[in-house]
Amino acid sequence: MTKNEKNSLLIATEIAKIVSSRDLVRSLKNKITRMKTKEVKLDFSDVEFVSRSAVHEFLSLRNQLQKKSWKKKNIEFTNTNESVKEMFRTVAANIAIPKNKRLLEKIEKIDIQTLIKKTSNS
């Protein structure tokens, strides 16, 4: 396990500098559960970007571990850069109050032959 402190996990080392996949975030669960401390810091130093899906998974993981009656963990996200911070805020806000299904406007329906003709004429 890579730790920069006893109660912290460096995400850039544990996963990568750009974190996209939910499954890799999920895979941190066992490592966090095995940590002896109740307060755990997930350290985002050197992490350049976290995808929306991965942020959602980090929040779900925190929620799951906080609800546990045994080996309960309090997770703190630290050293996040501006874009990572913004992504966490957006996703957390949307979990709290989800947006409605969006209505698509102005989608032109066209068949492929028309597109080919239009493109060759332009």
Binding site: I18, L24, S27, S53, I95, L115
Partner: protein
């Protein structure tokens, strides 16, 4: 075995490439083994190269290389068709060929290595466009979300991603491909919703997630907004017999009879950013 002659696109326009891909694969039966004849190709763009590479891998089809030495050299450099699946090899290639990023073959079972390979690919893409404040996140968002979709929804164990920056034309082309079950089947199998291919694309754009859960269903739509609105680019998505084409001002949905891509192809073009980009308004 049927031979398919791959022709050069008439111009570098992304829609021309889409048409070239359509004309290459129209009439090909499901999983039919073919020979792609690249003999007369002089230049190939990611939107055409990557789906052909994916098709060759899936169906064990064959190809005849270009007779043009430059094109042949390019295809060798990018490791067409199988690509690279290891971070060590990617790193070596990136050092020797600074302007050409190889096809990255992301494998489901490689977990951490897959994520690091995706990181290396993404970093090369950012580097190629230069440093503009905010552009990094706008470029990383679609790559991350669209690759994630492959491993969450497609049921495919392999995703291919490839990008090429054209310094004289000042744009970056990225293509992401899987040969999985496609959007229509994903809705049918996971949500018991029976729709046509074009309706499935529309559902994805409307944010109807294939998987249950809060904050799902944003990936494709927000990626399209990042590409078209934040970065002023073009975005194309193909699944089954339907396609969606979007630019900053126009959106088109089309059916392609006698054409079927089993899986999803996403290709987009980003002009080199000239000014600071704020992605916040696009993060719904």
């Amino acid at each position: 075995m049927k031979t398919i002659i791959v022709k050069n696109e008439k111009s570098d326009n992304l829609i021309e490439q889409f048409i070239a891909l359509y004309l290459t694969l129209v009439g090909v039966s499901k999983n039919e083994k073919v020979t792609f004849d690249l003999t007369d190709t002089v230049w190939l763009y990611p939107m055409v190269i990557l789906p052909i590479a994916s098709y060759i891998i899936k169906t064990k089809s064959e190809f005849k290389n270009s007779k043009n030495d430059k094109t042949k050299g390019y295809l060798d450099t990018i490791k067409f068709p199988k690509g690279i699946n290891s971070i060590n090899e990617f790193s070596l290639r990136a050092q020797t060929h600074k302007n050409y990023v190889p096809i990255s073959a992301l494998e489901r079972n490689k977990g951490l290595e897959r994520e690091k390979l995706e990181t290396m690919f993404s970093e090369m893409m950012i580097k190629s466009l230069g440093s503009v404040k905010g552009a990094e996140s706008a470029i990383l968002y679609p790559i991350g979300e669209l690759i994630t979709n492959i491993f969450e929804h497609s049921n495919d164990d392999l995703g291919l991603v490839f990008g090429q920056y054209y310094p004289k034309k000042s744009f970056l082309d990225i293509c992401i491909v899987d040969s999985g079950r496609g959007l229509r089947r994903a809705y049918a199998e996971d949500k018991n919703i029976q729709v046509r291919d074009d309706e499935a694309i529309k559902k994805v754009l409307e944010g109807e997630s294939i998987k249950a859960g809060k904050d799902r269903g944003y990936g494709v739509w927000t990626s399209k907004r990042m590409v078209c609105e934040a970065l002023g680019g073009q975005f194309i998505l193909i699944s089954g017999s339907a396609a969606f084409i979007a630019s900053q001002k126009k959106q088109k949905l089309l059916n392609m009879p006698n054409f079927y891509w089993e899986g999803v192809i996403i290709s987009y073009r980003i002009p080199k950013p000239a000014h600071k980009i704020d992605i916040t308004p696009y993060l719904e």
